[in-house]
């Protein structure tokens, strides 16, 4: 058997026999999926997010907004029609209510007018609920203000929504997180093996060093694939997420992402001397990245300065790319940019590692 394969098998055996490593590599991300799945999984059933667009800005339109926000079933966000349409297309909200300018004036003159309701007929359950609520509010409004004559009507509009649930948004994020961790954490065993003299001992055999590195890379890529299958599997089976893109593209991104973060891990290992140091620094790198990349929240909801920070972090782009390919989620950057950024990190960090890595 080829020595590269034998070394990879040795690495796999070492990983499988190390319970702590197993936990962090496989069970930690799985735990995340279930945890977030349970926290957010029910939210789309109990509350419906809608956008409210006030183009009128009169007592009437504000009264209407108040009526909608008093409905406990709904959560309301306001904004321009364009922004809300975009949000609905991204799946952040399920419907939009638009009060056109002139509505207030029309009500005052008791001439018939209408508010617009954007719904996505394909998600019939949600749109039915929103329709009923809007009807009730309009009726009540007509009773109070116009004495029963129907002044305010509802004009139904349709808008295709991707109807992405919070869980569907989170699954690619958690996969990205797992890939980031498996790559960055690869620094630790490498530093450990150097500190213990394993790298040196193997250096005294005729084994080519690239095979030693290659077997490490093979192991991690294998783990990346297993992680991806497990995390997506849970998403599909337990939380009904749907994969819209091609699996081949997704697999390619998983490998590219794992490769980029492995390169970061190797670059880190070049500068770290002891195992304790490595454990500390790896945490300092991965923890902020996990939270600042906004992988758990929609990018648009991040405060401005966090968006700036996130735009510098490779994890943002991996999560974005995976989301686009898997669930067609909110786009931070075009897919091509995501791939370019990840490739850039891969090449630069590999270069650093190749120049600075010490075997002892």
């Amino acid at each position: 058997m080829n020595t590269l394969l034998r070394l990879t098998v040795a690495n796999i055996r070492s990983l499988v026999r190390d319970r702590a490593a197993l936990f962090w590599t496989f069970f930690f991300p799985v735990m995340f999926v279930f945890l977030f799945g349970w926290i957010f999984g029910g939210s789309s059933d109990s509350k419906v997010a809608i956008g409210f667009v006030d183009q009128d800005n009169t007592q009437v339109s504000m009264g209407l907004q108040q009526s909608f926000s008093q409905v406990t079933l709904l959560t309301i966000q306001t904004g321009s029609l364009e922004a809300e349409k975009a949000a609905m297309q991204h799946g952040d909200i399920s419907a939009i209510v638009v009060v056109p300018s002139g509505t207030g004036a029309a009500v005052a003159a008791k001439s018939a007018t209408s508010i617009q309701l954007y719904i996505d007929p394909s998600s019939s359950q949600v749109s039915q609920v929103v329709e009923q609520i809007a009807d009730q509010i309009a009726n009540r409004f007509n009773l109070q203000l116009a004495g029963g004559s129907s002044v305010v009507g509802i004009q139904q509009m349709t808008l295709q929504s991707t109807n992405i649930s919070t869980v569907a948004y989170l699954v690619p994020s958690i996969l990205a997180m797992a890939l980031m961790q498996l790559g960055v954490f690869a620094a630790i065993p490498l530093v450990q093996q150097r500190e213990k003299g394993i790298l040196k001992r193997i250096g005294a055999t005729p084994l080519a060093r690239w095979k030693l590195v290659g077997s490490n890379v093979l192991l991690r890529l294998l783990v990346a694939i297993v992680d991806a299958v497990v995390i997506l599997g849970i998403g599909l089976v337990f939380f009904n997420i749907q994969i819209v893109g091609s699996l081949l593209e997704a697999a390619g991104l998983v490998l590219l992402g794992a490769g980029a973060f492995l390169a970061i891990g190797f670059a880190l290992a070049s500068f770290l001397k002891t195992e304790e140091q490595a454990t500390g620094v790896v945490q300092v790198v991965q923890m902020p990245m996990m939270f600042l990349s906004g992988i758990f929240f929609s990018f648009d909801f991040l405060p401005g300065f966090l968006q700036t920070v996130a735009r510098f972090l490779p994890l943002t782009y991996l999560a974005d790319a995976l989301r686009q390919v898997m669930v067609n989620g909110t786009q931070v950057a075009p897919l091509g940019v995501d791939v370019a950024v990840l490739t850039g990190w891969l090449v630069v960090c590999l270069g650093i590692a190749a120049r600075s890595f010490r075997w002892e």
Partner: protein, 309 residues
């Protein structure tokens, strides 16, 4: 000397610096085929650096270093096929078993011995399926030697093979190393146990601060410095060194590890004079004894300090 034919190791004027520190400073020696050669010295003497340059793990700054007549920097890959290496640090893939590790290392070489044969050679048959992390210190050292033997090497490097072992484990490892010598292997080993060098090595070189201070067979080294035998006893203030040095037959007086050592050409005369002096001071020398001078004495004489300081 059991040397025959061309030397397996030739080192001439080897120098290696780390920053301003001269770890190895002008070292020259040769090791013949079938010879067990020992590099002796305290920690930091430059033994490990020397051995790692020979193994192709470090590049020399200057000097010529050949193994099997080939330059180590230019022919490292083919040299590595024919040498066996045991390093001070032994923990290799702690979660792999003895068998798995030997199989793995065997695959690194063009030719390798059957794993079963290696396990038997180092007497690890009962632990063949044990993970290396669960082996005792002595067993780990034996595994480490089995790994060094995996390619049936002509030349074996052993770097402090018995450090940290209990006396019984050390004895059994000595037997193993003697067995290798009987099978015609050439061995270069480092140690800071003089007793170990005396037991195993045909020739030794004593190193300190990057230099070789003295080289030869153990009896040669001792004979060159000490025609005397040593009289020793627990050091006591009532018997000052100045007076002891003047006793009959004494050529030199020294102190090490709480003991006073008098090197004497006339042991009977020295003991008589010592007891008379002690009687005068009304003390009795405790743990009084006589022995041949050892490598420890040679080292103390060469450097003015004990080997394990």
């Amino acid at each position: 000397m059991t040397q025959s034919g061309e030397p397996v190791i030739g080192v001439a004027n080897l120098c290696k610096c780390y920053g301003d520190v001269k770890a190895v400073d002008g070292v020259s020696f040769q090791v013949g085929r079938g010879e067990v050669f020992g590099l002796l010295g305290p920690n930091g003497a430059g033994k490990t650096t020397t051995i790692e340059i020979l193994e192709g793990l470090r590049e020399p700054d200057s000097g010529s270093v050949t193994v099997f007549g080939m330059d180590v920097t230019r022919h490292a890959p083919s040299i590595k096929q024919r040498i066996g290496v045991q390093l001070q640090t032994v923990s290799l893939y702690p979660r792999l078993t003895v068998t798995e590790l030997l199989d793995l290392f065997g695959s690194f070489y063009a030719h390798h011995l059957p794993t079963k044969q290696l396990i038997d050679a180092v007497d690890l048959g009962e632990r063949a399926k044990a993970r290396s992390m669960n082996l005792s210190g002595g067993q780990q050292q034996r595994l480490s030697i089995a790994l060094a033997l995996v390619n049936d090497p002509e030349l074996i490097f052993l770097d402090e093979p018995t450090t940290g072992l209990d006396p019984q484990a050390r004895r059994s490892l000595w037997d193993l190393i003697k067995g290798l010598q009987e099978r015609g292997k050439s061995i270069l080993m480092t140690t800071h146990y003089m007793e170990e060098a005396a037991e195993l090595c045909g020739r030794v070189a004593i190193m300190d601060h990057g230099h070789i201070l003295e080289m030869g067979t153990v009896p040669e080294l001792i004979g060159r410095r000490f025609k005397e035998r040593a009289v020793f006893f627990d050091t006591t203030e009532k018997l000052p060194m100045t007076q002891l040095g003047k006793l009959a037959g004494v050529t030199q007086a020294a102190q090490e590890d709480g003991q006073t050592v008098l090197y004497s050409r006339d042991v009977a005369g020295t003991i008589g004079a010592l007891l008379a002096l002690a009687d005068d001071q009304s003390v009795e020398p405790r743990n009084l004894g006589i022995r041949q001078a050892t490598l420890e004495d040679v080292f103390l004489d060469l450097t003015g300090r004990a080997l394990r300081d």
